[in-house]
Amino acid sequence: MKNLKLKAARAAMDMSQQVLADKTGVSRQTINAIEKGDYNPTIKLCTAICKVLGKTLDELFWE
């Protein structure tokens, strides 16, 4: 299932996938895979993404 919340939060900050990937220390393809729902990130990566986007885990990853 696509993670539209993550995509929306990233777009709201006018941030590209590459910038988010650089700030979280992963590849752009990994951010792309998370947004498309092809990959379930670990809690470590989830928290890193939340910190960069200023959101909570619930806001981005809870359905």
Binding site: Q17, V26, S27, Q29, N32, A33, Y39, L45
Partner: protein
């Protein structure tokens, strides 16, 4: 011990020494968690393919009394096919290159290595022959390695071009 076996032994020793030196001196561990997981799956697939090739070779020998090729050629072909399976599985799932690695530099190095190996095989004029010697085939190891490197380089270039179309 014939010259081919000796050359193969030297190649293996050189390969493993180089592998451990690179592994010990490399400070970068820049594959992310998704890439590491996919690389694990790719290792598994490559290992299974190698096993299948070894079994196939054994079956051909049992039923025909002849090997497909010399033992060291068979081993190198098995390694190269496994390597291609590993690389292309990683390429297919976007785990082909680390976060901070320069893909274009690797493509250039791999292409040069491939071209040099193919040129060596062509100069020696022993690319492939249907020999006796207890085997069906005799293939130049340089040619096998050259083709492997060229295929890998082509695969990376193809994947880089594919990714240019993704959302930035």
């Amino acid at each position: 011990m014939n010259n081919g076996s000796l050359a193969f032994g030297i190649f293996l020793i050189f390969f493993f020494v180089l592998f451990f030196i690179i592994r010990k001196t490399s400070k970068r561990r820049d594959y992310d968690e998704r890439q590491i997981a996919i690389r694990g799956e790719a290792y598994k697939a490559a290992y299974l393919v190698f096993l299948v090739l070894v079994i196939l070779n054994g079956l051909v020998f049992v039923f025909s009394g002849k090997s497909i090729a010399d033992p060291y050629v068979t081993a190198v072909v098995g390694m190269c096919v496994s390597l291609i399976v590993f690389v292309f599985k990683c390429l297919a799932k976007d785990a082909y290159i680390g976060v901070k690695m320069n893909a274009k530099r690797y493509v250039v190095i791999i292409s040069i290595l491939g071209a040099l190996n193919i040129i060596t095989a062509v100069i020696n004029k022993n690319i492939i022959s249907f020999s006796g010697n207890g085997c069906f085939l005799s293939i130049s190891i340089s040619f096998i390695i050259g083709v492997t490197f060229i295929l890998i380089a082509a695969g990376i270039v193809w994947r880089l071009n594919e990714n240019d179309g993704d959302e930035k």
